[in-house]
């Protein structure tokens, strides 16, 4: 029996239903887990995403033909039953449940189980086959409680203000930036400024009903603005650019799960690395897989081999599922669509 979903050169494909999930090449019908550039690619004829995802997807893909579905609403394509379930990764991120002849598949997309006020929380979905991401699929990746991380960021910001410096934090423009804003809103004082890429998405979030503290687009203030004590949120691609010069004396930080490893922070050449990820860490990955009840697990997008091996040792039927985002050069990606937390190693 052939698999309900399999990888083709255009992406993850359902032959019975004739649709793709997160295709990396233009296709007729694309079902999208979330709006990050490595999942939502330009050029398909039609897109289906969660209602919560629509606004940011429109910002990301100009003039797309988009249909939306509510959480848990079932719909059918060529006799295959589909539904979106919250993945807790960023605003509108979904797991996609695909059912045919009683066999239940779930494609996780990217997900995290930690609470995040900027998106609907993750819900485990029972299934027979679970296709999981594995971005941080090694036991060295274990997140510190986010309340501690936000307190650390607030303390760093405060000490920079006292030292007469601006604070620049690099974070992915879609999702991480908004999560940081929401996380700092009630525990830190001072004004938030943003890079244009972040500000556009802030507006989408606010329009989508996500409360964020007030932010000012850094490009909208006068040239000789005093940036002392300001917190500026910018995408990682702004690091080392001339755009940063305007802020004068500043301290830089990077917020990402990769910052758990000292070498990754040092390679970034930032002053501080804050461990804050929108992906599951190793314990949460293992717990989530257990919670799905799946007997078969396909591992994609990240540390596939170690995760597959660890799952097999637990007695599961696990395999690696290739994705476009491994073994491909970053250079092929435009800056704006570099996947969250940059490119996954391995």
């Amino acid at each position: 029996m052939t698999d309900l979903l399999r990888t083709t050169d255009r992406g993850l494909y359902c032959e019975v239903g004739d649709f793709y999930i997160d295709p990396w090449m233009p296709v007729e019908r694309a079902i999208i887990t979330h709006a990050h550039g490595d999942h939502a690619r330009w050029g398909s004829s039609t897109y289906v995403c969660s209602t919560e995802c629509e606004r940011v997807l429109r910002t990301r893909i100009y003039n797309a033909n988009i249909t939306t579905r509510s959480w848990n609403e079932t719909f059918h394509i060529n006799g295959v039953t589909l539904s979106f379930h919250p993945a807790g990764h960023i605003l509108g991120s979904a797991q996609i449940r695909v059912v045919h002849r009683g066999e239940r598949w779930v494609v996780s997309g990217d997900y995290k189980t930690e609470p995040d006020p900027t998106c609907t929380p993750f819900e485990p979905v029972r299934c027979d086959v679970f296709i999981t991401e594995s971005t941080f699929g090694l036991p060295i990746y274990r997140w510190t409680p986010q309340s501690e991380t936000f307190a650390d960021i607030a303390a760093w910001w405060r000490s920079n203000r006292e030292a007469g410096r601006a604070s620049i934090i690099f974070a992915y423009a879609l999702g991480k930036a908004q999560r940081i804003l929401a996380g700092l809103a009630n525990i830190a004082e001072g004004r938030f400024y943003t890079h244009g890429a972040v500000e556009r998405l802030n507006n989408d979030y606010r329009e989508g009903g996500v409360p964020l503290p007030p932010t000012t687009y850094a490009g909208s203030v006068s040239k000789n603005h005093d940036w002392t004590g300001a917190l500026i949120i910018a995408p990682p691609s702004a690091g080392g650019s001339t755009w940063l010069r305007r802020f004068g004396t500043s301290s830089t930080a990077f917020a990402s799960g990769w910052m758990r490893v000292r070498g990754a922070r040092r390679r970034r050449s930032v002053d501080r690395g804050f461990v804050l990820s929108d992906h599951v860490d190793w314990p949460a990955l293992m717990e989530t897989i257990d919670a799905t009840g799946a007997e078969r697990v396909l591992v994609t997008h990240g540390y596939r081999d170690p995760v597959v091996r660890a799952l097999r040792e637990k007695g599961l039927d696990a395999d690696s599922l290739a994705s476009r985002w491994e073994g491909e050069g970053e250079s092929e990606l435009q800056e704006d669509i570099v996947p969250d937390d940059e490119v996954a190693p391995e």
Binding site: P139, I140, G263, G327
Partner: protein, 535 residues
Amino acid sequence: MKRFAKLFSEIDTTTRTNEKVDAMSRYFTHADPADAAWAVWFLSGGRPKRLVPVRMLATWAMEESGVSSWLFEESYHAVGDLAETIALLLPDSSSSSDAPLDEWVRDKLLAIGGASEEKQKAIVLDAWRSLGGIERFVWNKLITGSFRVGVSQSLLVRALSRASAVPEGTISHRLAGDWRPTAEAYQKLVAEGTEAPPESSPYPFYLAYALESELEDLGSVDEWQAEWKWDGIRAQLIRRNGSTYIWSRGDDLLTERFPELVEAAEWLPDGTVIDGEILPWRDGRPLPFAQLQRRIGRKNLTPKIRSEVPISLVAYDLLELNGDDVRDKPMSRRREELSKLIQSTNAESRFLLSPIVAASTWEEIRTAKEKARDLGSEGLMLKRLDSPYGVGRRKGGWWKWKLDPYSVDAVMVYAQPGHGRRALLHTDYTFAVRDGDTLVPFAKAYSGLTDAEIREMDAWIRRNTVEKFGPVRSVKPEQVFELGFEGIQASPRHKSGIAVRFPRILRWRKDKPASEADTLDSLKALLARAEGGGS
């Protein structure tokens, strides 16, 4: 331990020199002398010897964290540092020890070397269970003898000076040589006054920066002196109270390695300190550095090795004369005294006065430099005639002007991930030259590419892997790099028969196909020239 770990973390999370000095100065202002002594020792690169085999540490860490050995390996490959891997894998500790650094070092770190395996395990597990995140990392670095922190000796000296109000030069001098980390030694280190250290102590070495400007920008050639720059062991030879001490720049006491020099030093009057370069020397020119390494590596200095690799001290400066510190006198004056001293020794084959490269114009200096390689020298040292002997690396008085390195175009054949800062990227490459239809690996290089190039290369490597051997990947032989290196010599241990010294990447030759890379024959020609002394 908490305060020391905090200090490490403060230094580690900034790239600003001032903040590093501030953090150290704050630490030393408040630290107990016993703790401060260890901090000085660790910050200046001191490492306890023979601790616990890392294999044991890894085994205990796997037990403690419930991670299997293959998963531990995978994790280690991703992190690139064993101490950190262990710190990241261990479960969070419930308690947090307040014991001071001195107690941790004396009762645990130093006690562990000679203990039974059972006792070692107990100490290590107790440490892991009673230390928090960053402290655990620092402890692991200490116990694996791999503790390193991004401060130079001169920053450490500056911080100690700031905390104690003792001048930097005095601190530096008191720290030179074999400084032992005790509370008493620390108190002496930061005690008021400028009292000097004991008789065996060397002076801090004066180090030159690489020449950054045109020769003409240095002013008139008459104000300068040029000498050959040698690739040996920079050393101070000390003769005081009838005893001789030889210190390397790395603060290793080398006296026993060079009995010829100790013998010759009998001719020197008490209260003499000479700065120079120890070189394997025969027939008026140095032997390859590898010969010196071979000799240093021997446990027993047999007459055979002594005759095969005779050594000399090429003397170029005089720091102490008749017991007086003469470092502030002008260089020309020190040189004059040095010259007289050497002539009076009857040991002129052991003490060679560093020859001056005669020149009346900068142009002649340029011409002379071209001859350096033929003489077995690696370039020129330029010294202002009126310069004092400084402390540490300083600009202005001395400059080193090294030869452009040898260079060849080579093909990348293997790649593996780096360590530390570059642990997630393939940064360590093995290069080969062509030999008929095959490629012969001859050098490994880590440095020379920009961060952007490293990422691009990493992506290319992942796409073009032929085979994986653990972390090492063989790649399609397509990428050509211009490699530079400082020296070349025959080596039966290398497949190519050739070993190069200090290889590094000069540039990525995207314009060149592998079929146009250099050949083994071109390397052999370089070797012939180096060995033949230009003949």
